[in-house]
Symmetry: C2
């Protein structure tokens, strides 16, 4: 069953969760990218329009993350028709919110819906990774939570290497994105190449505490464990304006803790209440305002379902 | 309320659980050391006898792990009387089964029972660590499971830095101790001083998988994650005779996996059934026999309660 158009939503995601570098990720309830796929008779993928990217993203379907994911989905579906994509970016680029993953996943889900939803979400992992790989490397720490929702433990790029962790009830997040770009490649380049054994032991200990806290729904311990990272944050801190000041502000306004979202510069504060999250976001923004740094805030929760189809015609 | 004698049992323990180096530990149901404390009018600690150590352990109460733990417990109790200890070693020394912890913990529990059990198990952590410190350094990865039982996540030496993890039902363990001694100091000396970042990420990923598997009661995944250790086992493998052969034998007889217990040389196979554990133990022993290496086996489960008082008079 083939339709004429389909639209899908894919959420923003946070990789790393502090100490869970390259292993853990979670999906936010919002914001997210929306991709519309329209049926065309000509095989292949074209990009009709991209909204909200300020003209920064390539319209070349062979280079655009959504375009590549769409082409890979078409190939896996084995159809001869083509699609024309319209991409609505609601995520800021290079901000640590999984922007490229969201576009890739939304495109894969939309194209699959267009052709009758014959592939499972698990089967969309590969095409989504194809899109992500064009921009950020073939890694599932954003793609997996974006597709499946929730909090994910990612130990590889196969669907059976992705595990869903429980979602602590009452988890609310305050996000703030200062108006500075952090390229993932730069954020990778500043990392140390080797780690003292003692530090590795601490890192594994905090990781164990984090998974334990997630299972017990203990937000306070969860935030403490996330912040336990001894390796990644210290190396990247200088790329994030006012990181430690923001942590201080977040905590003094009721947050349990604060970590860098993905490779930054978005910061994510862990809260247990919507009102507290709003207060924390406002206070952080006031801090950036005082320093003359523009910023955008968002308070949200965890997406339990991940990417999904919005409509099919 | 003071008694005339008290006897306590403290179980063998396994530190590390593979990838959980210096962080995780568990208590076996058996074997364990038994310490009897008798009231004396003279303050201080004397050691009446040690059975089962082949004369290897010091009888000097100020150097013996049980003697030190007993003295520290007396001090914390604030009593002026003394104790005479009789130590029955049922654990082989320097075998990776937490022998020094078991003697220290049994002594602390026995002395506390002698004087009316006024200290809590948590309060016995410090005196037990004092005893352990004399032999193995002040670290709770064996002492904590020995005192409290179960599977412990140890991130420090304070009671509030020790967390109890759930115990997967149907966990059965096959232990085999080849007749070679591995000194903890030697096993520490062979470890690398620094680790590549990539390896650290793998190590934290396996740790996350292990805690997740423990919570889900997934023994197969638990064993796989334990074996994921990229750092400690490769460095120590040469100290453990036939390590990889034993893993192969264990798995081909139905075990999910095998790791070094503590600093070795005891090896521990993860099974889900008592009969399988027995078959695995026999097969491993036959393997050592064929290589002309003496060994001792034991099949056991997890101690849920840890150290405990056997009798008070």
């Amino acid at each position: 069953m083939t339709n004429t158009s389909a639209e899908a939503f894919a959420p923003a995601t946070m990789a790393n969760l502090g100490v869970g570098f390259d292993v853990l990720g979670l999906a936010f309830h919002e914001p997210g990218d929306v991709v519309r796929a329209e049926l065309t008779d000509e095989p292949g993928v074209t990009i009709a329009d991209i909204e909200g990217d300020g003209g920064q993203l390539t319209r070349d379907p062979e280079k655009n993350t959504a375009g590549i994911a769409a082409a890979s989905t078409l190939k896996r579906l084995g159809v001869n028709q083509g699609v024309r994509l319209t991409i609505r970016k609601n995520l800021p680029l290079a901000s640590g919110l999984g922007s490229s993953s969201a576009s890739a996943v939304a495109a894969a889900v939309a194209v699959n819906a267009l052709f009758g939803d014959t592939l499972s979400m698990k089967e969309l992992l590969d095409p989504s990774l194809d899109g992500e790989a064009a921009v950020s490397g073939r890694h599932a720490d954003n793609v997996a939570p974006c597709l499946f929702g929730g909090i994910t433990l990612v130990t590889g790029v196969d669907a059976n290497e992705i595990k869903m962790l429980p979602i602590p009830p009452s988890l609310h997040l305050a996000l703030i994105t200062p108006n500075v770009a952090v390229q993932t490649a730069v954020a990778r380049a500043v990392l140390p190449q080797s780690i003292p054994l003692k530090t590795m032991v601490l890192q594994t200990a905090y990781m164990a505490r984090l998974i334990d806290a997630i299972y017990r729904g203990d937000l306070s311990e969860m935030a403490r464990a996330m912040e336990g990272d001894q390796v990644i944050e210290p190396a990247r801190a200088h790329l994030m304006p006012l990181l430690y000041e923001m942590r201080q502000i977040a905590k003094s306004n009721g947050a349990f803790g604060l970590v860098i979202s993905g490779a930054g510069p978005t910061l994510c504060a862990i809260c247990n209440d919507e009102k507290i999250a709003q207060r924390v976001a406002q206070a952080m923004q006031a801090g950036y305002d005082a320093a003359g740094i523009e910023s955008a805030t968002r308070c949200t929760g965890i997406s339990t379902s991940g990417a999904h189809v919005l409509r099919v015609n």
